[in-house]
Amino acid sequence: MASVSTLRQVALADRCYRLLLLTYPADFRRAYAAEMASTFRACCREALREEDSWGLVRLSGSTIYDLITTSIKEHLQTLLSRLKHLFGNQVPLVSPAGLDAMLLTAPLRLQVAQHTDIGCKRIANEDNLITVLPEDPQILQDKGALFVVADGMGGHTQGDRASELAVSTVREVYYQEMHEDKASSLVHAIKQANTLIHKENMAWSGAFDDKTGMGTTCIAAILQEKTLTVANVGDSRIYVIHEGQIRQISRDHSLVADMVRAGLITPEQANHHEQRNVIYRALGTAAEIDVDVFEETVAEGDALILCTDGLCGLVKDEAMLQIVETYQPEESVQQLIARANAAGGPDNITAIVVRVTA
């Protein structure tokens, strides 16, 4: 049975806490104030039961500290959602937990949509993709947002394994890498993915006397504030759309791309060339790999497209530009994939569309 003095202390602490709850935004109070007060009361009773009045003082101290920090956070959250309402329905680069980063860095906002489709002819989807928008404000500030697309190849449906290994390894290694230089970290992450896939290939060929092996393309992009860092192996691509112009940033490691660069065939001929799928650089095919790096500055209003050749091999750059300039990212991705499928969809189709707004 609780003593009268205990009940009084709990009642007093409860009244004070209810008053302090007024510092939270009205919407938040409506949703959670009653539960928070009831939780606090239960904490008070527990503190008094297990310790004494001193326990209650300690609890009040930590609760007030929690109240001050989270109340500021919730007010910022409310302010941001109002701004979002005013300026359109955009996804903030950071989740609400990363509000601190939103204050420290330029308030860059990103709208991101991504999708991968098996296409019309293949029996499996060997493409993989990933988007990482870190919740942790420090990670976001230090490392930025990551986008990766990989197009796997190899017998025994191993292509899927290769592209999956590529995107997951790049994500893990990049965010664990402490190197300050983003390009070096990204190259290191891709090289690690290459080593892993190559080792699996070696083990596989040893066990089954199978020399075909698996491999994958890999294009990875980091967007940190307004700096875009791209690392690439193979013929998956990244485009930047700036002021109505579309530009391929990455350089394809494919036979036909080299023939176009050498002036032997036109880009149009390359799209129909019988060796258009032949690439000379891929993750997993050799112990060592060269990775191309590109750096760009993006501006408010720019868009990025990362894709596999199942899209850019079938849909012309101008058509992609028109779609992404016309629709929001979610609708753009659907339209891009539908366009590639309408053109026959001979390969798996993958696209990530990112719209940068201030």
Binding site: T70, K73, E74, S95, T116, I130, P134, E135, D136, I139
Partner: protein, 123 residues
Amino acid sequence: MKEKAQAPEAMLPLTPAVFHILLALADGEKHGYGIMKEVSQRTEGSMRMGPGTLYGSIGRMLTSGLIATTDERPDPAVDDERRRYYRLTDFGLRVAEAESRRLDQLLRIAQSKHVLAPSQGGF
């Protein structure tokens, strides 16, 4: 066809509060105070969440579909007040798995670098 727009990995890394709440709900639904107690007990008091941190995280986790509310009922073990209960969604479970894998990999690296002895890992 693969749809990865809702890939659990896209939510990573999680904040400590969010990950602890997911773990607290992994073995069944709980109310807010129940979550708070479980986290404090499991971490032997090293992770104590105040009501503001708890309900701020809960609000965001409801919005992103990691958890859902079930019903409102009293918990006789605490008092006779009616409390809202929260449960893990399938997506929340997949996100918790993905975060665990990520941390496991980090731990292995720490062990391979002899920063942490394998026996200290607790696995």
